[in-house]
C-alpha cells in the first residue's frame, strides 16, 4: 500500500513536468509571436487572467491542441497529484475491507472535489 502510494505520487510529479514542458513546446510552435516578441505581457500576469480556468475550458482547449490549455493541464496535474495518492490509498483500504477508512478517504476526496465547485462559484 505504502509503495503504491509512493509510486503514484512519483509518477504524478513526473507526468506533470512532462505535460508542462510539452505545453511550452506546443505554445512555442503554435504562436511564436506571443511567446517570442513582447517583453512581459501585462494582461497575462494579473489575477483572473485570460487563460482557461475551468475543467471544461481546459478539456476543450486540449481538444483544439491549444498550448496554453496543455500548460494549464500540467499545473492542474501537479495540483491533483496528492489527490491521486489519496485515491490509491482509498482503493487499498477498500481491498483490505477497511470500510471505515475507505469512507474517510472518500469524504476527503469529496471535500476536495466539492471545493472545485465552490471555487468556480465564488466571484
Amino acid at each position: 500500500m505504502r509503495a503504491a502510494v509512493g509510486r503514484v505520487l512519483h509518477a504524478g510529479v513526473l507526468a506533470s513536468a512532462v505535460i508542462l514542458l510539452s505545453g511550452y513546446l506546443v505554445s512555442l510552435v503554435q504562436d511564436p509571436a506571443a511567446f517570442g516578441s513582447h517583453a512581459v505581457e501585462q494582461a497575462h500576469l494579473r489575477a483572473r487572467a485570460s487563460f482557461p480556468h475551468s475543467l471544461v475550458a481546459v478539456w476543450n482547449g486540449i481538444g483544439r491542441g491549444s498550448g496554453e490549455a496543455i500548460l494549464v493541464a500540467g499545473v492542474l496535474a501537479l495540483i491533483l497529484t496528492p489527490v491521486a495518492g489519496l485515491l490509491t490509498g482509498a482503493v487499498a483500504f477498500a481491498r483490505r475491507r477497511d470500510w471505515l477508512f475507505t469512507a474517510i478517504s472518500a469524504t476527503v476526496l469529496l471535500v476536495i472535489l466539492g471545493s472545485i465547485l465552490i471555487g468556480s462559484l465564488t466571484p
Binding site: A49, T81, G119
Partner: protein, 320 residues
C-alpha cells in the same frame, strides 16, 4: 506584474525578453527559493510569496495561488520517498486530512474576501513568529547533526504514550477514538535499531488544531508544517520522526484542497505557477545534496535575519 518593478526593468535593460526567457528567470529564482526553504526547514511557500510580491510586484493572491501549487508539488515529491520508508502513518494522515482539507477550503475562500493589505500584514506576522521560533529551536541542539535528539526522542515519546494510555483509559473518549480508528502504530528507529511502538492521544484536539493549520495554509499559500508537526508531536504524542513524515503527506492533500479553489477562481497563472512549482520542487529536493558541506547552523542566523527583514517589509506593505 507591475511595469515599474525593479526586476522587470532589469530584464528589459538586458534586452527584449520574451515569455520563455521570463519563465527561465522564474525557474532559476524558484530553485534558489526552494533551496532556501528546505535549508530553513520552512518549505518553499515562505520564500516564494515574498519573492513574487516584493521583487516581481505580483498581485498577492496570484502569488499565493502560485505558492500553493509549488507546495503541492514539493510535498508530493518528498512524500513519495517518505511513504515507502514506512515511517509515515497513512491512517493518521488520512484521518487528519478531514480537518486540514476543510480548513484549507475555508482559508482559500477567506483569502478571496480579505483585503490584499490584510493578507500582507498576516503573512508578515506569521513569518516573524516562525523566525522567532527558529531561533529558539536552534539553542537546545548545539551539535552538528543533532543525533542526540534522534536517540532520545523515542524514549519520552514512549513514556508519554504509556502515561497517556492509562489516562486515556481513565478519562475515556479521546483514547477510544484513536482505538476505534486503530491509529496507533510503530516505526523502525534506525539509530536505535529497534521497533518503536507509539500510542496516539488527544485525537479530537489534534483534529481541531489541524483545521486551524489547514486554514492558515489555504489563506497564505504555505504548507504550514510549522503548525502541523507540533499538532501531532506535542498534542497527539506522535514521535517526532513520524510526525514530520506524516505532515509532509498531509501538506500535499491540504495544498490540493485550497489550490483547486485558487485555480477555479483564476488565481493560478500557468506561465508563472508552472516554472515556479518545478523550480521550488527541484530546489527543495535537490538542495540538500547541493548544499552538503555547508554549515547550515551558521547560515541559519543569517537567514533568520533575512527572514526578519522580509517579515517587516511584508508588514509594511500591509500597513502603509
Amino acid at each position: 506584474m507591475d511595469a515599474s518593478s525593479p526586476v522587470v526593468r532589469t530584464i528589459v535593460l538586458l534586452g527584449p525578453v520574451n515569455l520563455i526567457e521570463f519563465s527561465f528567470v522564474l525557474l532559476g529564482v524558484s530553485v534558489l527559493a526552494g533551496m532556501l526553504g528546505s535549508l530553513l526547514g520552512l518549505g518553499g511557500g515562505f520564500v516564494i510569496v515574498p519573492v513574487l510580491t516584493l521583487v516581481f510586484h505580483l498581485d498577492i493572491r496570484l502569488a499565493i495561488g502560485t505558492s500553493i501549487t509549488a507546495v503541492a508539488a514539493t510535498s508530493s515529491a518528498g512524500a513519495a520517498r517518505n511513504v515507502a520508508e514506512s515511517i509515515t502513518n497513512l491512517r493518521v494522515a488520512t484521518f487528519l486530512a478531514l480537518a486540514t482539507t476543510i480548513g484549507a477550503v475555508t482559508g482559500a475562500l477567506l483569502s478571496g474576501v480579505f483585503d490584499a493589505r490584510f493578507l500582507f500584514a498576516l503573512f508578515g506576522t506569521v513569518l516573524g513568529i516562525s523566525g522567532v521560533q527558529m531561533l529558539r529551536r536552534k539553542r537546545p541542539s548545539r551539535g552538528r547533526n543533532d543525533p542526540v535528539r534522534t536517540l532520545t526522542a523515542p524514549v519520552p515519546a514512549l513514556q508519554a504514550a504509556r502515561v497517556d494510555k492509562s489516562t486515556a483509559e481513565s478519562t475515556g473518549r479521546n483514547g477510544d477514538l484513536a482505538d476505534r480508528l486503530a491509529l496507533h502504530s510503530a516505526y523502525y528507529d534506525v539509530a536505535q535499531g529497534v521497533e518503536v511502538p507509539y500510542v496516539v492521544a488527544h485525537t479530537g484536539l489534534g483534529l481541531a488544531l489541524m483545521y486551524l493549520a489547514g486554514t492558515v495554509s489555504g489563506l497564505l499559500g504555505i504548507g504550514s508544517g510549522v503548525l502541523k508537526v507540533p499538532a501531532m508531536d506535542l498534542a497527539m504524542h506522535i514521535p517526532m520522526k513520524v510526525s514530520t513524515a506524516t505532515s509532509n503527506l498531509l501538506i500535499g492533500l491540504t495544498a490540493s484542497a485550497s489550490a483547486v479553489v485558487y485555480f477555479a477562481r483564476g488565481d493560478i497563472d500557468p506561465l508563472i505557477a508552472g516554472p515556479v512549482a518545478l523550480g521550488v520542487l527541484v530546489g527543495a529536493t535537490q538542495g540538500s545534496k547541493i548544499l552538503v558541506g555547508i554549515r547550515a547552523e551558521r547560515l541559519r542566523v543569517l537567514f533568520v535575519i533575512a527572514l526578519g527583514v522580509i517579515a517587516v517589509q511584508m508588514l509594511w506593505k500591509g500597513i502603509a
